[in-house]
């Protein structure tokens, strides 16, 4: 055994130990890197999952809100129908008796004609004035009675007793017909009314299973509203050209009909109310506030579809009515 032997052995042992330690270190570093990598991946995954959860929660909240909204609409619709039935009978009496009284007054005037003519001027004028005033009042009762009657009729549409006909029909002609009706209706009411009309009706929409009369009501409502809004803006802005665009397209298993107007738009704060019965921005006597509420019922409850709105106040409004190609089995008759 040489003198340096133990030291050499010790050094060798140390070197081995160092090499082991170095290997361990390398492994540990690799592991740390892996761990880091894993943590990062984990972090990213958690972020993704989190984002998905947040989105799902939002979706859930939106669904819940729309469910609450649907429920409110349903109960309001029932209430509306109930009120309408209760009002219709007395209202019929008011209208009938007002009309009768007009006839009776005309007869009375005829019976008394000679007598009145022979009265002193002052008394005669008084009598004639009274006749005229009563006649005018009766005309007012008639006019407002008819107005109330048309409101009640619209209210009752919420609660038709029997199902209307369910048919397989081409959708575009319904939209086109609604457009014609709305345009001529608006022209008939106001001869100075005019509007630029664009139609983009896609052929791939084809035929759908639906309740055509009710869909017609929806389109008519949406188009009339759009025309009203665009025309209203044209009265407020010089040189503004009111325009309406009706388009249809196929979107997977759905078909969509869009009505876009360049009118006054819907202010954000009104957005949640527009589908509620009796909500209207039109002056008294011009709108019943039932059009959109009825359309909502028809699209969602009757057709299992949707009615969505997008609007930029002062710029435009787009209503999108979508419905499945085939009706869900349970919808329809209420």
């Amino acid at each position: 055994m040489t003198e340096g032997e133990p030291e050499r052995k010790a050094i060798e042992a140390l070197e081995r130990r160092i090499s082991v330690l170095e290997k361990d270190l390398a492994i540990s570093q690799r592991n740390r890197a892996r761990l880091e990598d894993f943590r990062e991946k984990n972090q990213r995954m958690l972020e993704t999952v989190n984002a998905e959860l947040v989105e799902a929660l939002d979706e859930l909240k939106r669904t819940q809100a729309s469910l609450i909204q649907s429920e409110k609409m349903a109960s309001l619709g029932q209430l509306t129908a109930g009120i309408a039935h209760e009002i219709k009978n007395p209202l019929n009496f008011v209208n009938n008796f007002a009309k009768l009284s007009e006839e009776l007054l005309a007869e009375l005037a005829e019976v008394l004609q000679d007598k009145i003519q022979s009265l002193d001027q002052e008394v005669r004028e008084d009598a004639e004035d009274l006749f005229r005033t009563i006649r005018e009042n009766l005309a007012k009762i008639n006019e407002h009675g008819r107005r109330a009657d048309s409101i009640v009729k619209n209210m009752l549409l919420h609660s038709r007793s029997g199902p209307s006909a369910r048919q397989q029909v081409a959708l575009n002609p319904i939209a086109k017909e609604a457009l014609n009706l709305a345009y001529h209706g608006a022209r008939a009411e106001n001869s100075s009314f005019n509007i630029e009309i664009q139609t983009y009706l896609s052929d791939d929409v084809g035929r759908v299973e639906c309740y055509p009369q009710d869909l017609m009501r929806v389109f008519l409502n949406l188009i009339s509203n759009g025309m009203y809004a665009a025309y209203k803006r044209s009265l407020e802005e010089d040189g503004f050209v009111p325009a309406i665009r009706v388009s249809s397209r196929r979107k997977g298993d759905l078909v969509e009909v869009q009505v876009r107007d360049n009118g006054t738009g819907i202010p954000d704060h009104m957005r949640p109310q527009i589908f509620a019965p009796f909500f209207t921005t039109k002056p008294p006597g011009e709108g019943t506030g039932l059009g959109l509420s009825l359309s909502y019922d028809i699209m969602i409850k009757q057709h299992g579809g949707d009615l969505a709105v997008e609007s930029e106040p002062g710029e435009y409004t787009v209503f999108t009515a979508s419905l499945p190609l085939t009706l869900p089995a349970e919808t329809g008759a209420k």
Binding site: N89, F93, N96, F97, G162
Partner: protein, 129 residues
């Protein structure tokens, strides 16, 4: 000849409405109106058979107790010569079809179109006579 018409409606003011609308015809003696406030009361009047015989029955459909439809079925069965006119606030096709199937001569929805009612009534009575 005076035609006796039986009017059935649970609303009391319906009488006044008919009486005023038919005032000229009543004055001329063309029509005589009897009124009943329920289906039961109407059947009693029909059974009573006081001359002149009742030739037309005008009935509301929605009434408490015996409905207009039940009265219609009973009336057509027992007095086939009496023309039955049904009146309802709910002018839907299903109800109209049901009324006609049960033997109603005609169907009117409220508010009643009186000129049309008068024409149809005159025709029904002419056919019956």
């Amino acid at each position: 000849m005076t035609t006796r018409v039986l009017m059935v409606d649970d609303e009391r003011d319906a009488r006044e409405l008919f009486r005023q609308n038919f005032r000229r015809e009543i004055r001329k003696g063309l029509y005589e109106f009897n009124f009943a406030q329920s289906g039961q009361e109407a059947l009693e009047i029909l059974r009573d058979g006081t001359p002149p015989e009742i030739l037309a029955l005008l009935s509301d459909i929605n009434m408490p107790g015996m409905s207009g439809m039940e009265l219609l079925a009973e009336g057509c069965k027992t007095w086939p010569r009496v023309g039955v006119f049904m009146i309802t606030a709910y002018g839907d096709a299903a109800t109209e079809g049901q009324a006609k199937a049960q033997g109603a001569s005609n169907f009117f929805s409220k508010p009643i179109d009186f000129p049309r009612l008068k024409e149809d009534l005159a025709r029904a009575i002419w056919v019956a006579a």
